[in-house]
């Protein structure tokens, strides 16, 4: 028996433990325990008061039983009683039981806190330490509430013993971590920092942990600790191995304290004070120098402790990332470790080097170790080390070594552990894209990935290769050729079929000239894989087939036969069935032009963050992929993979408001007419009513280009629109009818908005979506059949009453004559405003419902303000123009009652929806709204200024419009006045 158990040993406990150990079976053990529990219970319940020793012994037995894995539901009170014992060993067992067994919700907590409180205030350092240990071990919020305020005082009190200070510091740290709100900051914090200077190394060791935690939360309040920490560290690092006596561990001076101090410094940027910084750099250099010295001991404890400090030093150097010399030295040191016989060191070196690789100062130095790292990837026996090697290769990759690294990773992938294959696949895919100089290499790499580890190639990866091939026309032919070759392998992965199917469907024509890959050969190659593939892949292949019909008309008969087969048309899978039916019908009834339009090559994908990178980040948590995208590296080609592929902005894009004013209609065109100079002439131009004020030539202006773009591409195709430009021809036969009584009210709802439900009754719903640009507009009308019965002879027409024919052109597409129950049909309207107009076009919808003819006439929500272009201008310009429009007929004014609550945000939204710009700081009264804009028509522009003055008291508005044209002023005023 060990010597120590003689004096205070509890014989009964030792006997009990021996008994348990001698039990031959689990049942015997349980029996022995139950016997003991019964015994203890009877002792605790017995009439005879137990002495402290017995209580201690029984509580200790209970603790042992608990540690064996049994529940203990009594004895707590006895343990709490032990807290008030004067015998240290009894108290100690009481505290141990509470620390191990009592949870914070216990109802005993008040009693326990009482006992703790007594000991904390006892001024007996031994008892105080026990109490502090208990608080630190339990660390509950209740304990925090009870003691968080007392502990700082104990920590900084001048008369506290060193050991009490140590426990108090770590106890406070525990409470602060658990509930920072409970620890009051105050005068003590400044004194805590000075514990770094304490003579007692143990006190410093404990205090540094607390200070580090406080610094992380309030770096500014604890800044002074930096210089103290540096000087403390300096004294340790430069001390001889015997100076620190018992704080030297296997010839390493105070390794734990050194590590903690280096940690603390990592909360801050490099010291600004040159002297402090110099001293610190000296420390770091000393540590690096010592690493080169021969070991003072062969023991692993020596090298572990020494290297623990070294790695923490390197972490600090990396954290500062400002000393190129130190960074390179750190890198060289880690390079030595890469070949160390200790696996732990190789692992840690690979890990640290990953962070060094992302520093611009050490990136090149890290790269020199590429061969060693590649070797580690091939030969390390521990998978976790190989994984670190793969991480490091990923981190050190740049354009200069990408091909080598990618090919090594691909080679590794063939034998890689299953657990890390997907991650390697993602990394290879990212590197190949990021550092691709020629994209044929990229395509080869991804296809290799699929070949080697097809099961681990996620959707993100093969989607991405399709995006890149679609967006880069220089690689499309190569991609088609390569996938074609890859598909010839007798057993190729399904992901290869997906990629191959998609690429051939888009770009198979690029290799169709070669008889070895003629269209029928391509098709039969793909179709030979079809039956072995999953539903999703087969669905993709069906789309490829219909694309083939468009690309290669000669395959039409073969493919139609495939689509027509019972196995497709009646496939149990609804997606496959639907595709087969639709594609067959499409290929049968659509003309080649329609087919060509529908099955056109996919447009370029918009560029966004690579979904693969996002996936890797998700997989590894932040920071894993971060080394690649922290912006330090030269911008790789990843950025410009699709850089030039963005769809060109529409030629009708809106010029900026100022360009509007200066360049008028020609503004967006490169051949802008010289802008008139001087405010005066500008105004004349803007507001001119005369035909000469418009653009001198009505040639192919950008607006017309826009319009032609709006026009359907193939007028001769069966689905083409009826050129409705002479509406009389189409609608003269039938009177448009009288608008329904609510027509005006419905129209009013759309003056300030473009989208919504225009009309609804029990049978029909009509929705509107529209957009307007300069003098052009496009409107989508959605006719929904709300019944379950088909509408027949469904015919919506647009008519232009009165003068409107000369003012507005509305082209409509025909819609199908039948609308099934519950179905919706869409109609597209192209609109061009020729001149200013007053009345909106009419929309007449006729159809037969259950034998009865229905007719409905509405006002189409096209009002003159839709062609409003907002104009920003300064107050001075506004007033100048306002004055220039001072003829009485140029102004229209209305004073009217508010029909809606006078909410300024709503009002602003309405004015903006109306189309005018809202000008701030123009009207001296901030309650008023001032706006400006130009009505754009083909023949002329009309400049408009408006002012809305609310009077909240009277619930009235005054609206004033000034434009260069009388009718426009009046009409806009009427339209707008209805909105408030």
């Amino acid at each position: 028996m060990p010597a120590v158990s003689k004096g205070d040993g509890m014989r009964g406990l030792a006997v009990f433990i021996s008994d348990i150990r001698n039990c031959k079976s689990k049942e015997a053990e349980v029996k022995r325990i139950n016997k003991e529990l019964a015994n203890i219970r009877s002792k605790f319940k017995g009439d005879k008061a137990l002495d402290g020793y017995s209580k201690k012994k029984y509580v200790c037995k209970l603790l042992f039983i608990f540690l064996l894995g049994h529940d203990i539901d009594f004895g707590h009170m006895e343990a709490v009683n032990l807290l008030s014992s004067n015998k240290y060993t009894e108290k100690q067992i009481g505290y141990l039981f509470i620390s191990v067994l009592v949870n914070s919700t216990s109802e005993l907590i008040r009693l326990i806190n009482n006992g703790v409180k007594n000991d904390l205030t006892s001024r007996n350092p031994t008892f105080m330490c026990l109490a502090l240990h208990c608080i630190a071990n339990v660390g509950s919020r209740e304990m925090g509430e009870a003691f968080a305020a007392d502990i700082p005082r104990i920590l900084v009190a001048g008369d506290s013993m060193d050991s009490v200070k140590q426990s108090a510091a770590l106890c406070l740290l525990r409470l602060y971590k658990a509930s920072p709100d409970l620890v009051p900051m105050g005068e003590w914090t400044a004194r805590v920092v000075h514990l770094l200077n304490d003579q007692h190394m143990g006190v410093v060791t404990a205090a540094v942990s607390l200070i580090t935690c406080l610094c992380k939360k309030n770096p500014d309040d604890f800044k002074t600790c930096v210089s103290l920490a540096v000087s403390r560290l300096s004294r340790i690092v430069s001390s001889a191995s015997t100076d620190l006596q018992d704080y030297t561990y296997y010839f390493v001076p105070a390794p734990w304290l050194s590590v903690k101090l280096l940690r603390l410094l990592q909360c801050y940027a490099p010291p600004e004070d040159a002297a402090v910084k110099g001293r610190l750099v000296e420390c770091l250099e000393t540590v690096l120098n010592k690493a080169q010295e021969p070991p003072k001991s062969k023991k692993v404890q020596h090298s572990n402790a020494k290297n623990a400090v070294l790695f923490e030093t390197i972490s600090l150097i990396i954290h500062y990332d400002s000393e190129p010399n130190l960074l390179v030295r750190a890198c060289n040191q880690l390079g030595q470790f890469l070949q160390h016989r200790e696996t732990n060191l190789r692992y840690l070196a690979l890990e640290s080097m990953c962070t060094l690789a992302s520093s611009e100062f050490s990136h090149e130095a890290v790269k020199t170790h590429i061969d060693t790292v590649i070797n580690a990837l091939k030969t390390e026996r521990d998978v976790s080390v190989r994984q670190r090697a793969a991480d490091l290769l990923y981190a050190m990759c740049d354009r200069s070594n990408a091909k080598q690294i990618v090919s090594e990773m691909l080679r590794y992938l063939e034998t890689a552990d299953y657990a890390i294959r997907e991650e390697i696949v993602l990394k290879v895919a990212i590197l190949a894209e990021k550092y691709a100089v020629d994209y044929s290499w990229y395509v080869d790499t991804i296809l290799n990935l699929i070949r080697i580890a097809g099961d681990y190639v996620s959707e993100e990866v093969w989607y991405r290769v399709l995006q890149i091939v679609t967006n880069r026309d220089d690689v499309q032919g190569y991609a088609a050729k390569t996938v074609f070759e890859a598909l010839q392998a007798p057993a190729c992965h399904e992901n290869m079929v997906k990629v191959g199917g998609y690429i051939l469907g888009e770009f198979g024509n690029l290799i169709a000239g070669d008889p070895r890959s003629s269209p029928p050969v391509q098709f039969s190659l793909l179709h030979s894989k079809f039956h072995l593939c999953s539903v999703a892949t087969r669905a993709l292949l069906l789309s490829t087939y219909i694309k083939f019909i468009n690309l290669f008309p000669e395959t039409k008969a073969t493919i139609q036969a495939v689509l027509r087969a019972g196995s497709q048309l009646r496939n149990a899978d609804v997606e496959l069935q639907q595709r087969a039916v639709e594609y067959l019908t499409l290929s049968s009834i659509a003309s080649t032009d329609v087919l060509a339009t529908v099955l056109e090559e996919m447009p370029p994908f918009p560029e966004r963050e690579s979904s693969i990178l996002a996936k890797l980040k998700r997989k590894k948590g932040p920071g894993a992929a971060g080394t690649l995208d922290d912006g330090r590296r030269e911008p790789g080609p990843g950025g410009d993979v699709n850089g030039g592929m963005e769809p060109a902005p529409s030629s009708g894009s809106t010029p900026s408001p100022s360009a509007d004013l200066l360049g008028l209609r020609a503004a967006p065109a490169p051949t802008a007419t010289p802008a008139p100079t001087g405010a005066g002439s500008l105004l004349v131009d803007v507001f001119s009513d005369s035909p000469t004020g418009g653009p001198p030539s009505l040639g192919p202006t950008p607006e017309e280009a826009f319009l032609s773009e709006l026009e359907p591409p193939a007028p001769e195709s069966p689905m083409a629109l009826s050129a409705d430009q002479a509406p009389a021809a189409d609608t003269a036969a039938e009177d448009p009818g009288v608008p329904i009584p609510e027509a005006d009210e419905l129209l009013n709802k759309f003056v300030c908005k473009n989208n919504g439900v225009l009309f609804e009754n029990a049978l029909l719903q009509i929705g509107v979506k529209s957009e307007f640009r300069q003098n052009l507009g496009r409107m989508y009308l959605f006719y929904g059949n709300k019944t379950s019965v088909q509408f027949q002879n469904f015919c919506p027409t647009v008519s232009h009453p009165g003068d409107l024919q000369t003012q507005l052109v509305v082209q409509t597409k025909r819609v199908p004559g039948q609308v099934d129950g519950g179905a919706q049909v869409q109609q597209v309207l192209n609109i061009e405003c020729l001149r200013d107009f007053l009345t909106p076009p009419l929309l007449t919808v006729r159809f037969r419902y259950g034998g009865a003819a229905q007719a409905l006439t509405l006002k189409l929500p096209v009002t003159i303000n839709k062609f409003f272009q907002p104009t920003e201008m300064a107050a001075q310009d506004f007033f100048q123009r306002w004055k220039q429009l001072s003829l009485p007929q140029q102004e229209a004014q209305k004073i009217f009652q508010a029909n809606h609550p006078m909410d300024s945000e709503v009002t602003k939204a309405k004015l903006l929806g109306f189309g005018s710009a809202l000008l701030d700081n123009v009207d001296p009264n901030p309650e008023n709204y001032v706006g400006a804009g130009i009505v754009q028509t083909k023949a002329l522009q009309v400049g408009c200024l408006l002012r809305l003055e609310p009077n909240a008291q009277a619930q009235m508005y005054r609206l004033t419009l000034r434009t260069s044209k009388e009718s426009v002023s009046r009409h806009l005023c009427e339209l707008l006045a209805e909105q408030f």
Partner: protein
Amino acid sequence: MFRKYASLYFCCAIEDQDNELITLEIIQRYVELLDKYFGSVCELDIIFNFEKAYFILDEFLLGGEVQETSKKNVLKKLKSLEET
């Protein structure tokens, strides 16, 4: 992190950012403390004096942080407590 001594494993849960090598030496130092306290510690010492193993740990580590690394100081304190 773990370290094996004869048939006993000593394990220590640490966070991602913690220093691995110094943690290994924390385990080593704890075993050294046990060894010094019991005098050539063995498994039975820890089983029969499990409460002592706790008390020694409390002097060395508190709230997950190293409190006192000096073997002498820890043992001195344990000794003085037992004489209380």
